[in-house]
């Protein structure tokens, strides 16, 4: 079975403006719309397209998170994934622990490709993909904007600071997605109903033999400093004058 494993994280929707809790313990997520991390949605879309081209037989989505993450896994199933796995953990985990857990799933599922988002838009860590690749001792192609599968390898275009880089990696490999890899499909209503019947397996950390190690403590969360109020100018000439006054031109 040619299988692709896709990581799904539940995050505050990218259109919401989150607020810091007054006690500084974190950000307030009560009542905030939660969604699949946009980069993970792109990862799933890519896996589905590979399967639709006949280059994969099965797309498995996996999350490491709390019970309510099942909602996002159901959305992923509605998008077209075949099966879902939730490794349940109520405490948030560090990326390295998530990578260790994903490694256990990789050993179980034996995918030829693992596709993850390049970053999650909540903690903006950008770590899990390369960490998993290191633990798995396999190649990584991060920030992918194009993935071409060949015989036993993938040729990947990566969005790097210099522009575009092309790498060829042997399979199996870990890929992380950039924004321009694809545009994820919308979920159709009948598919939401169908998705309810697709398998969603819940696993415990203990069953995978993983004990999380909290080695980074969150001391506090604060709102960012606010910029002082600006001035309005009416014409380009006034703009040039204002810039001169500030000494920036």
């Amino acid at each position: 079975m040619k299988r692709i494993l896709v990581g799904i994280k539940r995050v505050a929707d990218s259109s919401t403006r989150v607020r810091v809790k007054p006690d500084g313990s974190g950000v307030a997520l009560d009542g905030v719309k939660m969604s699949i991390n946009p980069f993970d949605e792109i990862a799933l879309e890519e896996a589905l397209r590979i399967k639709e081209r006949g280059a994969a037989d099965e797309v498995v989505v996996a999350s490491v998170g709390a019970a309510d993450w099942q909602q996002q896994l159901r959305t992923a199933l509605a998008m077209g994934a075949d099966r879902a796995l939730l490794v349940q953990s109520d405490a948030p985990l560090e990326s390295l622990d998530v990578a260790r857990i994903l490694l256990q799933l990789v050993k179980r599922e034996q995918p030829f490709a693992v596709i993850l988002g390049k970053q999650a838009i909540d903690d903006d860590n950008s770590q899990t993909g390369p960490m998993l690749a290191a633990l798995w001792e396999r190649p990584q192609a991060t920030f992918a904007s194009k993935i071409e599968l060949r015989e036993g390898t993938a040729v990947v275009t990566r969005e790097v600071d210099a522009g575009l880089e092309v790498l060829e990696v042997e399979l199996p490999a870990v890929f992380t997605t950039d924004l321009r890899l694809n545009e994820p499909r919308y979920v159709k209503l009948p598919n939401i109903l169908q998705a309810k019947k697709k398998p969603l397996e819940v696993l415990t950390l203990a069953s995978l033999g993983i004990g999380p190690r909290a080695r980074v403590k969150l001391v506090r969360v604060e709102p960012p400093p606010v910029r002082s109020k600006g001035i309005a100018v009416k014409t380009a000439a006034e703009l040039v004058e204002a810039l001169q006054k500030r000494g920036v031109i």
Binding site: P130, A134, R138, T142, E159, L167, V169, K217, V219, T235
Partner: protein
């Protein structure tokens, strides 16, 4: 307790990336820091010399190996991991190079990573942006855990040149280098424009520009200002400009003295990328656009009238100065 810091040098075409001088500033804010820089290259002579010339560098470790000709994370990571044991901190820049490499290093060392350090509180405690910098987290790494981290270069000024350059020491590692990743190509650098991440002035265009051709209006103003050109995601997605010009949460984080946003609405993902700019100017025809909430100077109007006028005024000013 003193901090022994290793910075992994980013470089291309024999030039040290300016981000490293900023990582150096971050490293020096650690208590009692002793800083080494590792240069992994096929032939790292020139880059090692540039690293040795940064103020505060104690030593440069030069690791020459033919496999290091291109910055491939799976090849560099085991070598960095092998250099790491004597150090308390291993740092790289929050660039695509650092974001690709450092987590791989952290995993090989079996330690967590701190991404995007914007301030050092103490040797184990750091401030970093989360939620597209809509919140700032203070995080602390447990004692006895080696710290692997990336440094938000927009938050640190480059260090100056050293009075006397540091020693360069050639080292070799016995790390097993995997052959499962092959470099194919990288787009040629566009040397005609100042680099976004070190530019003092940036003018960026958004969807409001309407086409790739219209970006010429922006480039002409950029020329008059000696500015780098940036863009919003919408402008890149629409194919107006190349991807590497994208500024924001998932593009480049910039910290110029002057940032001019033209035809950009000011979505949070874009604003993250420009928060460290000293002066932000917004030019937008919609007076309600969120970009005006962060702008130091706002100009409501049609960019197609304002840009040519701005170019003319700046040209006249230049002529007067000569």
């Amino acid at each position: 307790m003193s901090s022994k810091v290793l910075i992994v040098a980013e470089h291309a075409d024999g030039r040290l990336n300016p981000a490293i001088a900023k990582c150096m500033r971050c490293a020096r804010t650690l208590p009692d820091a002793q800083v080494s820089v590792a240069v992994l290259a096929a032939d790292g002579g020139a880059v090692a010399a540039q690293a040795a010339a940064l103020e505060g560098v104690a030593e440069v470790l030069r690791v020459d190996h033919p496999a290091n000709a291109h910055p491939i994370a799976s090849i560099l990571a085991p070598q960095v991991a092998q250099l790491a044991p004597p150090f308390t901190h291993v740092l790289g820049p929050t660039t695509t190079f650092g974001k690709d490499l450092m987590p791989r290093v952290a995993a090989l060392l079996d330690v967590p990573q701190i991404s995007d350090i914007m301030a050092v509180v103490n040797a184990r405690c750091f401030r970093r942006p989360i939620y597209a910098a809509n919140a700032i987290a203070t995080v602390e790494v447990a004692a006895d855990t080696k710290i692997v981290a990336t440094v938000r270069t927009a938050s640190f000024e480059a260090v100056a040149a050293a009075a006397t350059p540091a020693a360069v020491r050639a080292v070799s590692t016995t790390a097993q280098l995997p052959t499962y990743t092959r470099f194919v190509s990288v787009s040629a650098p566009h040397a005609d424009r100042p680099d976004l991440q070190s530019a003092r002035r940036i003018i960026s265009g958004g969807r409001g520009l309407g086409s790739a051709d219209n970006f010429a209006l922006l480039y002409r103003v950029a020329d008059k200002l000696g500015a780098a050109v940036g863009a919003s995601r919408a402008a890149v997605d629409a194919g107006y400009v190349r991807n590497e010009l994208q500024v924001g949460q998932t593009g480049k984080i910039v910290a110029p003295e002057l940032y001019i946003a033209v035809g950009i609405s000011g979505a949070i993902q874009h604003l993250t990328g420009i928060k460290d700019a000293r002066t932000i100017v917004a030019i937008n025809k919609d007076g309600e656009a969120p970009i005006f909430e962060v702008a130091d100077i706002g100009l409501v109007g049609d960019l197609f009238e304002i840009l040519p006028e701005l170019e003319r005024l700046l040209a006249a000013r230049q002529a007067r100065a000569q």
